[in-house]
């Protein structure tokens, strides 16, 4: 025990002793002059019968007085205990922010609420505190100001179904981890684990997604997986909808630990939005009851070819059923007339609203400067890997000549052996474009496979930005050209610029509409995590302790002061009414 702590306990003991001393102290009674003691003699005769009761009251009053003194002394000695904590260093409080923490507990709260109460208790113990979550890292501290910690605790919430990164702090003398143990993490033996785990029954969707059908008939198919993470059989109702059309609506009796799987065939056309929902009685976690899908190919892209000879590209793309291609003369060009523009050896003075594929364009400000001389027979050299080049065999590309472009902000993905850009892309807040530095007439598009693949890739990249696979709730890195993200609730999400991209917090399952350089795409966010849905098990050892109550979330010393105040009130009231001495 440190000297400071010993001084604290000495203060408490001294306060108790002082209370006893003061209580037993015989103060000189006030002198009251009366006309006669005759009548008081009768009173004293009556009171002698109550002596034993007086003793009981005296003892009770003594106990209450000592209790008041001790409680107040403990509350006052708090700074000493805090000083001890400060001397020992910092305490890192890490909260598991995985989605399983949203599971309901039997007392009506959630694991997260229990964790918050436990964090507040631990923070109030004193010392310098650093607050962190597995999803966000360090969110507050180091600080000794409990109000800052309280404010930070109010601002955090479960936001990811993944384990996340373990927060690092250079100097932490004690690390406390508040978790339900749903996701396995390697933990150092020095980490003090506070368990908020309580077994709960749950039924949730553990997998849901859509993909193009592999059969020749086309269309798409969806895959659904529902797990019953309870120890008893449960009825559950499963519905899958596409837009407003109900594809599946069935009642199931799921056996204990059973996982239900189903593949749903989807037509080639129709609403691209898919939604799966499961409803059951024993369901402690709501966030995994819903999942979403998006059939990208179901959306037809409108492509406008602006050229004096548009037939080259219209013929090239006519067979793709996901595209609606039309040719335009430059004089008929409208900036908002298509999902994707192909400017063939022509370009408007101003950039279009939609993404554009520019094929050997003339000099315009928003594209770049076209060189004066041609470079004959360039050799295709890939500069960096890019989705545009997927499936493109450079050996099959035969380019007779190319004009050198000076591009300010574009990234060259393919160049000639002499450095002239062949294929370049630009993806920023101003525009999203692909540049072919050579014209179809200067290559061999009709006989080589590389050019149609390259063109298809370019249109796909421009019109259907491939952002990523469906992911779990949490932060998502998107292209730097992302201008807006609309959440399922209709609100725009804040975007944070980081390096060569933007980060957005997609915290709830749903379909997020992302606008990228004029193109629009959809990001699917689903929980789809059996580890999160399975609330009946934990990776924590039993020694982590049981779930503690939610009550008493304030600092303990404030509660001590309140207790002393209540005791003083009780003592005063009983004294005034002479219930006690």
């Amino acid at each position: 025990m440190s000297v400071a702590a010993m001084a604290g306990w000495l203060l408490v003991a001294a306060a108790g002793a002082a209370a006893v001393g003061v209580f037993r102290l015989k103060v000189r009674p006030r002198r009251v002059t009366v006309s006669s003691l005759v009548l008081w003699g009768h009173v004293l005769a009556e009171r002698r019968d109550q002596t034993w009761w007086d003793r009981v009251r005296w003892a009770v009053s003594l106990v209450v007085t000592v209790l008041i003194a001790v409680v107040l002394a403990i509350a006052v000695a708090r700074p000493l205990m805090r000083a001890r904590g400060q001397g020992m260093g910092r305490t890192l409080l890490i909260v598991d922010s995985s989605l399983s923490m949203l599971a309901k507990t039997r007392d009506g709260g959630t694991r997260w609420e229990h964790a918050m109460a436990e964090v507040r208790r631990q923070a109030a113990a004193g010392g310098e505190v650093v607050l962190a979550t597995t999803g966000q890292g360090i969110v507050e501290g180091p600080t000794t100001d409990l109000s800052l910690i309280d404010a930070a605790l109010d601002s955090i919430h479960p936001r990811s179904s993944e384990a996340g990164q373990w927060p690092r702090l250079g100097q932490a003398d004690a690390i406390h981890f508040f978790t339900d143990g749903a996701l396995a993490r390697p933990l150092s033996p020095s980490v003090v684990v506070h368990s908020v785990y309580e077994e709960a029954a749950n039924i949730g969707i553990t997998a849901f997604g859509a993909r193009p059908a592999t059969s020749e008939a086309g269309g798409a198919e969806a895959y659904l997986e529902v797990g019953n993470f309870t120890s008893r059989a449960q009825p559950a109702r499963i519905t899958v909808t596409r837009g407003t059309a109900v594809l599946v609506d069935r009642q199931l009796d799921l056996a204990p630990r059973e996982v239900f799987r189903q593949v749903i065939q989807l037509g080639a056309t129709g609403d691209p939005r898919l939604r799966a929902h499961v409803k059951a009685q024993g369901d402690a976690l709501a966030i995994d009851d819903e999942a979403f899908g998006w059939i990208e190919e179901a959306r037809v892209v409108d492509v406008a070819v602006v050229s004096e000879r548009p037939s080259v590209f219209t013929a090239l793309l006519a067979r793709d059923r996901s595209l609606r291609v039309r040719g335009l003369k430059p004089q008929d060009y409208q900036p908002r007339g298509a999902d994707v523009f192909i400017f063939d050896r022509w370009a408007p003075a101003d950039p279009p609203v939609a993404p554009a594929l520019c094929v050997a364009p003339p000099t315009v400000n928003w594209v770049g400067v076209r060189g004066e001389t041609d470079e004959a027979l360039p050799r295709w050299v890939p500069v960096e890997p890019h989705v545009l080049l997927a499936g493109v065999d450079p050996l099959t590309v035969d380019i007779r000549k190319v004009r050198r472009y000076q591009l300010a902000t574009a990234r060259v993905v393919s160049a000639s052996d002499r450095g002239a850009p062949l294929v370049a892309v630009r993806d920023d807040a101003l525009s999203r474009l692909v540049l072919f530095a050579f014209a179809p007439e200067d290559a061999n598009p009709e006989v080589a496979a590389a050019f149609p693949i390259l063109t298809g890739n370019a249109i796909e990249w421009l019109a259907r930005p491939h952002l990523s696979e469906p992911g779990p709730p949490g932060p998502r890195l998107l292209p730097a050209s992302t201008t807006r993200i609309t959440a399922p609730s209709g609100k725009s999400l804040p975007l944070v610029q980081t390096g060569d991209g933007v980060v957005a917090q997609m915290e709830t399952p749903g379909l997020y509409l992302v606008e990228v350089g004029g193109a629009r795409s959809v990001v699917v966010v689903n929980v789809n995590a059996p580890d999160v849905s399975n609330l009946a098990t934990t990776t924590l050892p039993s020694s982590a302790g049981p779930l503690r109550g939610l009550t008493g979330t304030g600092p303990w010393w404030v509660r001590a002061v309140w207790l002393a105040f209540v005791l003083v009130l009780a003592e005063w009231w009983t004294w005034a009414r002479r219930i006690t001495v």
Binding site: P29, W40, R47
Partner: protein, 290 residues
């Protein structure tokens, strides 16, 4: 303290009449009729003449008609001896009580003087003090006030000894008004009864105050008996204070019950009541004044 009775109050008192339930014999003619037949002005009866009777009272008209000597009898108007026994022990030293008692004594004294009664003020504590005989006539009231003003509270209360001394002296029977707080450790009943046994009409005026009946101080206190100097430590709780109040009320009720049983007059005169109300209304309701 200077006792003052305003003019209106004195005027009202003049019209009040001291009534005694019995007629008392007196040496001086006053406003009340005595049972004794004598030299009054109001005709009462006839009786047969006997040797030695005063010729002047023979009714000659009756002799002419009845041929018998008859004497005319008259009710004799006699004064009423009023003894105002005022407690001047230290228990009465509380300013309000002592003032109250002296005002009551002064008022009664004035009524008696106004009706030519023989009023005697008798202060007492552990024994009788010096009696005050103001004489007759309401003009003597100022001398009474001076002498009441000169009284000091002191000594212990001993009603038995005081009233024994009062009774042991030879004096005419009359109305004995005992003005006291009756806080006598030996009890007031026997001494008061002794006055009645000696033929006096007894009227007890119980002077009380809130200080005596209530205890407003709580906690550990040391009570000091102002008369004996004895002390008593006590923890005054609301229950104890209530018990004290009950004891006081029981004490007053016992005294009133005792007076009622022996047909003695009793009036409780609390200092909180306006003095005029007590004299004009409370005394009337107590059948002391009419």
């Amino acid at each position: 303290m200077t006792l003052r009775l305003d003019h209106d109050f004195l005027t009202k008192l003049e019209y009040l009449h001291v009534v005694s339930k019995r007629a008392f014999a007196g040496q001086h003619r006053a406003d009340r009729l005595a049972q004794k037949r004598g030299r009054g002005l109001e005709f009462a009866d006839h009786r047969a003449y006997s040797a030695g009777d005063d010729f002047r009272h023979i009714d000659w008209k009756a002799y002419k008609r009845l041929n018998r000597l008859l004497l005319r009898l008259f009710d004799e108007e006699q004064d009423l001896p009023i003894y105002l026994l005022i407690d001047i022990s230290r228990s009465m030293a509380e300013a309000a009580k002592f003032d109250h008692a002296r005002r009551i004594a002064a008022a009664l004294c004035y009524v008696g003087l106004a009706h030519l009664d023989h009023v005697t003020l008798v202060p007492f504590a552990g024994g009788l003090g010096r009696e005050i005989n103001p004489g007759r006539g309401k003009g003597r009231i100022f001398r009474v006030l001076q002498q009441l003003d000169a009284l000091d509270a002191g000594g212990t209360t001993d009603l038995a000894e005081s009233l024994k001394q009062f009774s042991s002296r030879r004096r005419r029977t009359g109305l004995c008004v005992v003005i006291s707080d009756f806080l006598d450790p030996k009890g007031p009943e026997d001494p008061v009864k002794m006055l009645s046994v000696h033929g006096h009409e007894v009227f007890a005026i119980h002077v009380t105050s809130r200080h005596d009946s209530h205890c407003d101080v709580y906690g550990e206190v040391r009570l000091l008996d102002i008369e004996t100097g004895r002390t008593q430590d006590i923890d005054v709780t609301p229950a104890a204070a209530a018990a004290h109040h009950r004891a006081f009320e029981a004490h007053a009720a016992a005294l009133a019950q005792f007076c009622a049983r022996y047909r003695l007059g009793y009036i409780r005169a609390d200092v909180s009541q306006p003095f005029e109300d007590i004299v004009l209304n409370a005394f009337r309701s107590g059948q002391f004044l009419a």
